[in-house]
């Protein structure tokens, strides 16, 4: 402890190490990976704001081991992985642990996830890495740091990154399974990511006008990739946000489904952002609250809704693509199925996504969650029966992820879902009098 004080670390009154202005100059900030396209863009935003940020892309069994060692084993899998990844990185010798900080998001919701940052600090203490400052990235005003401030322009840029990320991911998913020339979609994603990063560095690409122009061009580029649209089984992925998106957490679910000859639809991040903002409005509607606060939040909501509309419009410019369903339409879908007050974790949005996917022709769904995920007992597994009652097309398989769930078991269950999906697709094609579906690699 005495040594720590000597090292000149500043603390707040609870003893938390502050990320100071000096640190901003000297420290490397490590950031966990969740969505490759989005995060590459977002990290660039931080870099352009003067933070030395680095994305952690390492995977491998050691991360799970570190996680198991430093985090309570009954804690949810994402916490175990994210914390394991941090500790693994800090111990790897790649970074000067006295000049490294960590960043992690904190939503402040009623789920365990709000506690990740505290579990991370506990783990650091246990691992003898207490000197490493941890920055909370949140919009709830939790944990102030003098050297790290999320300014309004930064928020704008991050939201822009989400918009671009969502569209790139959406188009990639719609094109890649059908591309004639293998790798074309991925190459285009790569090219656009670089192009956007370049624009960001020049301070461009953030304005709504620039976004609109970029998006249209981008959508057009994707429309030009040569495709063979022989029907494939279409699968949607929903679930707890980390397990749903991070390939490392879901045993490379998207790749597996691609190998099985499926087209995959993973709903974007925009819906989640809107959901989290909307929750504040719903709280006030349900339980009462300050009208001034409502007005402020509502303004933010409208701003992001504007971006969403723009994004959808851009995708619609090319009829070959299926645009995402607007947030408020999804919200309408769950009316009477689950209440808008269910806001912890992915809350009612997860239910809405399953219904929307079914409606949009991605009725074969993997609902992915960490083993024992509390909110998903309700809005995920708890709603499947209801959804099937309402729409018998829904073919949903819930899959749990945790350090010891084996891939074989998971894949076997997914294959069962796929077998039913293929049969349904075949029937559908026969009804439509079309030829057979693309031959599935039956292994």
């Amino acid at each position: 402890m005495a040594e720590l004080e000597k090292s000149g670390l500043q603390r707040d009154k609870t003893g938390r190490i502050l990320f100071t202005k000096e640190m901003k100059e000297e420290y490397t900030i490590l950031c966990p990976m969740m969505l490759p396209i989005h995060f590459a863009l977002m990290v660039d935003v931080f870099r352009n704001c003067g933070y030395k940020m680095e994305l952690l892309t390492a995977s491998g069994p050691n991360i799970v081991q570190e996680g198991l060692k430093y985090v309570h084993n009954d804690t949810c899998y994402p916490a175990l992985l994210v914390i394991g990844q941090f500790i693994d990185a800090l111990k790897s010798g790649k970074y000067d642990v006295d000049k490294t900080a960590l960043i992690i998001t904190q939503t402040g919701g009623g789920c365990r996830a709000s506690n990740y940052i505290h579990l991370l600090r506990k783990a650091l203490r246990k691992a003898g890495l207490e000197q490493v400052p941890v920055i909370s990235l949140n919009l709830s005003g939790l944990e102030h740091n003098p050297g790290f401030q999320v300014t309004l322009p930064m928020i704008r840029k991050i939201v822009a990154a989400i918009v671009y990320g969502d569209v790139l991911m959406l188009l990639r998913n719609q094109v890649k399974p059908y591309e004639v020339e293998a790798g074309a979609a991925d190459r285009l994603v790569e090219r656009w990511t670089q192009k956007l990063c370049q624009q960001f560095r020049e301070g461009k690409g953030y304005s709504q006008r620039a976004e609109k122009a970029n998006l249209r061009e981008l959508v057009k580029d994707f429309a030009q990739i040569r495709v063979d649209r022989t029907p494939k089984v279409r699968v949607g992925i929903v679930g707890e946000i980390y397990v749903k998106y991070a390939a490392f957490a879901n045993n490379h679910l998207e790749d597996f489904l691609a190998e099985q000859g499926c087209e995959v639809n993973v709903p974007g991040l925009m819906g989640f952002v809107l959901f989290k903002i909307d929750n504040r409005l719903e709280d006030i509607k349900l339980y009462g609250g300050n009208p001034a606060k409502y007005a402020v939040v509502n303004a933010l909501m409208n701003y992001v809704l504007g971006l969403e509309a723009m994004m959808i419009e851009a995708v619609k410019t090319q009829p070959c693509f299926q645009p995402p369903t607007p947030y408020f339409e999804m919200k309408k879908m769950v009316k009477g199925v689950i209440g808008y007050g269910d806001k912890m974790g992915e809350g009612w949005l997860l239910t809405a996504e399953m219904m929307e996917l079914t409606e949009a022709g991605y009725e074969n769904i993997v609902c992915a969650q960490p083993f024992g995920c509390l909110p998903n007992h309700i809005c995920g597994k708890g709603m499947i029966r209801r959804i099937k009652e309402l729409d018998e097309r829904a073919n949903i398989v819930p899959i749990d992820y945790d350090p010891s769930a084996t891939r074989v078991n998971q894949e076997n269950r997914i294959k069962l879902m796929l077998a039913v999906a293929r049969e349904n697709l075949q029937k559908k094609l026969e009804r439509q009098g079309k030829g057979p579906a693309a031959k599935q690699p039956e292994t």
Partner: protein, 966 residues
């Protein structure tokens, strides 16, 4: 020619069909995880025996077949899907198929909307589970089936997990329950698990077809299904081969068998599993290791030549029985270590007769028992003393390392570890509800692979690439092991990998240590599992410290009991142990009955020895033994429960309104009861939970990993509907009351939104009025207005004024109730102090008051003489303080405050009840432990679930009290 191969988790099934799709060849055998080998053998055989089978349409199915098919370029078909294809051809009029396999359970609904369901990541209630149970009972499957036929009663056994079931069955066996009843109960558990886990609200009716190994071989299991479902199911011809048949029917791609064989041969050569460094680099290293450990020996004496007082210690463990006879200087004269074959009494009797007969001059001065069967044996043979296992182990450890500061004992299915501070047992870690990483786990694997345990362990010592298997549940481990085998791991690698997993489980899961220093430097390891050199080696490597393993590692409990008997018997001449004559005519009769003296309905086993001496097992309190009401120790749980039951229905003009008596109604009943009574409703709550109530709602539970208190709600709703109550109030509540002790005041997600689950999954609620709106009681001012809006949707003519008045009364009643709890709690504390009792703050959530949830643990504590109060009695006695975690849940904030307060009270200790599956408690338990340890208090955690092993709970509590006494 078509070939269908079904490679399941334990067996490989194969059918060959000719052009007319007639079966020309079929086979069914266990593969002992030698999957590729067996597959190759089988294809080879088919090629030789079936004419024309050089080229055939082949399709592979089954959980273990998937990877092989993929790598060997053979067509694969998912097994449930294959079953459907086969049934469609062979039994077109089937409505429902129930298929149990080695690790899988499936239900297929064929009519009225096809649906296929398969168990999730949990293999409870499957063939592997029944196998495990048979091993535990020491019966073959045929014997089990035969015995089940003769059953008289059914016990409740959790089948969700073999591990849980073991902890149910072991105490039953130890208490003398009959194997026939246990066998039938196991089958019933499988039935319940299948129906509850897979039906999820859909009725199983019509023509039911039973498929798969267990249902084919076990007629009693089929019977049990028939009985529960109220149907007459059929088990068709070839019921073992439906998956293989479906695969064959579905096969389209012609495969050259020779080429396939070549692919398979290539596949077995690959080794792509994760591995860790070998346990020993060289033979020399092993020799040095073995030599170091061989030095730690207990003194021996010659029993035949010995004269003087001898001391007998017996340790009745979960699967073994150990006994030691010591001389006056602690020299070991005689010992046994053997399996108890499900009943420790005959084993001990035999040993005692042998002792008396062989050494007629032996003078036993004192005797003591310890372990699970402690009380049974003490009563059966009139032993002088009994002691809790932890004390016995500590006593023994001190004989080998006087300044020992950490003891870890890994036995058959228990793991016990404790720290020693100032010469007293300080912090106890027990594996609860999970026996992964114990001896029986290694044993089971050794047996599955066809080895005895000692041989199996030896194999691991020099494994070149031990498999990294992770650490968790045995069932998951099964799959991991199979995966590794498929990937080419040798038995040596697997043996070593399992040893690593045992140790990692102990250190990181049970003890939750992050460094060796945390455990101490003077470590004694014991228990049968440490006789295994591989386990010992991994343990030392993992902690980076040399530990002491006495050569009687497996006998330490018995040795400690004998030393304990000697210490306690100062001056005593002769043990009260029964003599040879009595032993020869010894009789042991067991009667099973249910205690009706309170709501717990303890299952009592009445043991009668020699027709006179009686011992009652299975009881929580002393009521059934003494026929008296319990000892006078104050019990806040009993008080609160009784207080809540005083909120009785009062007839009102608006008719009946039901509330499920579960989750946070256990605290908010005063609030809601007052609120709605005031509005003119007759408020009826469902009865207290019971097993029966739970089973009635079980089939509507959509997520089987949710906590037990939440699952119970389904039963409560069913019970309200059964009573004909059409209006049910069960609100969603993101927020709870703000008690200003925390950063936020949430409910946990399950408590907050469980009404949504009820609404979506309980079909019987359709057409009824189910109020499950979102309600904010935390905003006292807004509440009446918002609540009025909600009520207007359902009822006519409730004015805002009425709601305001009712709300006012409700808030006042809630405050009054909490004040009463605190006042009476204070009185209880004072009384306990006057009577010099220990005070246990039994902490959890308000709904842990439910006797079906807490399993009467409060009574167990009071029967041990301590007072029980709840966390809310003292949680307002400390100032708000900062915690290391985000303190954002109302109920959990109370835990932290209570822990902080307990830290300042010398005569108070905290015991935390944790519901299995409670994700939030993964956070609170660590924090509560930290707060307590900062104040030098012992942290005791008790995990509870649908069923709880009260034996383990008792050990924990008795150890705590033993530590407090020292």
């Amino acid at each position: 020619m078509k070939i269908g191969l079904d490679v399941g988790s334990t067996t490989i099934k194969c059918v060959v069909l000719d052009e007319n799709e007639e079966i020309v060849y079929q086979s069914y055998e266990r593969h002992y995880s030698q999957i590729t080998q067996k597959m190759a053998d089988l294809l080879q055989k088919i090629r030789q025996e079936v004419p024309g089978a050089q080229v055939a349409q082949v399709s592979v199915s089954g959980s273990a077949g998937m990877g092989v098919a993929q790598s060997c370029d053979l067509p694969f078909i998912q097994e449930v899907y294959a079953t459907r294809i086969a049934t469609g051809r062979l039994i077109p009029d089937a409505d429902v198929i129930i298929e149990l396999g080695g690790e899988d359970a499936k239900i297929l609904f064929l009519t009225g909307g096809t649906e296929v369901r398969m168990n999730g990541t949990c293999a409870g209630g499957t063939g592997a589970f029944i196998d495990q149970m048979a091993t535990l009972l020491n019966l073959s499957l045929e014997e089990m089936n035969r015995l089940a036929e003769e059953h008289e009663k059914i016990y409740t056994i959790a089948s969700r997990c073999g591990v849980f079931a073991k902890s149910d069955i072991q105490p039953l066996l130890n208490q003398g329950a009959r194997k026939s009843d246990v066998s039938a109960s196991i089958f019933k558990a499988v039935v319940n698990q299948t129906i509850a886990g897979l039906a999820q609200g859909r009725a199983i009716q019509g023509k039911v077809v039973y498929l798969g190994g267990p249902l084919t071989f076990l007629s009693q299991l089929r019977e049990s299904f028939d009985e529960s479902l109220g149907v007459q199911g059929v088990c068709p011809e070839n019921s073992l081969y439906y998956v293989a048949l479906g695969a064959a029917y579905n096969s389209e791609i012609a495969v050259d068998i020779g080429t396939a064989l070549a692919h398979i041969a290539q596949y077995s050569g690959k080794a792509t599993f994760l591995s860790i460094p070998p346990l020993f680099e060289s033979e020399d290293e092993y020799r040095a290791f073995a030599q170091r450990h061989s030095k730690c020996k207990a003194p021996r004496g010659d029993i035949a030549a010995y004269e003087g007082p001898a001391y007998l210690g017996i340790d009745a463990g979960s699967t073994t029985i150990k006994a030691a006879v010591l001389g006056k200087d602690g020299e070991l004269l005689e010992s046994i270590y053997r399996s108890n074959a499900g009943n420790p009494v005959p084993a001990v009797r035999e040993f005692l007769i042998h002792l008396y007969e062989t050494y007629p001059n032996l003078h036993i001065a004192a005797s003591a028992a310890t372990g699970y069967g402690e009380e049974l044996l003490k009563n059966a043979f009139n032993l002088d003393f009994g002691t809790v296992e932890t004390v016995a182990h500590f006593t023994a450890a001190k004989c080998f390392l006087p300044d020992v500061d950490f003891v870890i004992d890994i036995g058959g299915q228990d793991m016990k570890c404790f720290k020693i501070r100032n010469g007293a047992i300080d912090n106890i870690f027990l594996n609860e509800a999970c026996s992964s990483g114990c001896g029986s786990f290694l044993q089971t694997f050794a047996n599955t692979l066809g080895y005895d345990i000692a041989e199996f362990a030896r194999l691991g010592l020099f494994a070149k690439r031990p498999v990294d298997l992770g650490s968790r549940c045995t069932v998951f481990m099964n799959s991991s092991v199979k995966q590794a085998q498929k990937d080419g791991a040798t038995t040596e690698d697997i043996s070593a990998g399992l040893s690593v997993s045992v140790v990692k489980n102990a250190i990181y899961k049970v003890i939750r240590a992050s460094s060796a220093e945390e455990l101490g430097r003077k470590i004694v390891v014991q228990g049968g599992t440490f006789l295994n050199d591989a386990v010992l080696r991994v343990f030392e490597k993992e902690l980076g410290v040399d530990v002491v393993r006495p050569d009687i590692s497996g006998l330490m409990g018995a040795y400690g009991a004998a030393v304990y008997a000697k210490q306690r018997s100062a001056g005593q001449e002769k043990s009260s142990l029964i003599g040879l004559e009595e032993l020869r005519h010894f009789s042991h009769e067991v009667k099973v009955t249910s205690c009706g003296l309170c709501n717990n309905h303890c299952r009592l086993t009445v043991n009668i020895f020699d027709g006179t001496r009686r011992f009652i097992g299975g009881n929580r309190c002393e009521k059934p033994v003494t026929r008296r009401t319990e000892g006078a120790a104050p019990d806040m749980y009993a008080f609160k429960l009784q207080k809540l039951l005083e909120y009785e229905p009062k007839p009102g003009p608006r008719g009946k309104l039901g509330m499920p008596m579960g989750l946070n109604f256990y605290e908010l009943l005063p609030f809601w009861h007052t609120f709605f009574t005031k509005l003119g409703f007759e408020v009826v709550h469902s009865p207290l939970s019971s097993r029966k109530l739970y089973i009635e709602g079980q089939h509507t539970i959509p997520s089987d990993t949710v906590c037990f208190p939440a699952k119970l709600i389904h039963g409560h709703i069913a019970s309200l509907l059964d009573q004909g109550i059409d209006t049910i109030f069960y609100p969603c509540m993101s927020y709870n009351f703000d008690e200003h002790r925390s950063d936020n005041h949430y409910n946990c997600p399950v408590v907050a939104y469980y009404p949504e689950v009820i609404s979506a999954n309980v079909a019987e609620l359709r057409g009824k009025t189910f109020l499950h709106d979102y309600v904010g009681i935390h905003r006292k001012k807004d509440f009446p207005l918002k609540m009025h809006e909600i009520l207007e949707k359902y009822f006519d003519g409730i004015s805002l004024r009425e709601v305001r008045e009712a709300a006012k009364a409700a808030y006042a009643e809630y405050d009054r109730y909490m004040a009463t709890v605190r006042r009476v709690g204070e009185e209880m504390i004072e009384r306990a102090r006057a009577e010099k009792r220990q005070i246990i703050v039994l902490s959890g959530r308000p709904y842990h008051l439910d006797p079906e949830v807490n399993h009467g643990i409060n009574k167990l504590i009071t029967s041990l003489g301590a007072a029980v109060i709840s966390e809310d009695v003292i949680s307002d006695r400390v100032q708000r303080f900062s915690t290391n975690v985000l303190n954002q849940w109302t109920y959990h904030a109370r835990l932290y405050s209570a822990a902080q307060y307990v830290g300042s009270q010398p005569d108070m200790n905290l015991v935390q009840l944790v519901s299995f599956g409670c994700g939030v408690d993964a956070i609170t338990t660590d924090e509560v432990r930290e707060i307590l340890e900062q104040n030098h208090k012992i942290y005791t955690q008790i995990k509870i679930d649908e069923i709880t092993n009260l034996g383990a709970v008792k050990i924990r509590l008795r150890s705590l009290f033993a530590a407090l006494e020292q």
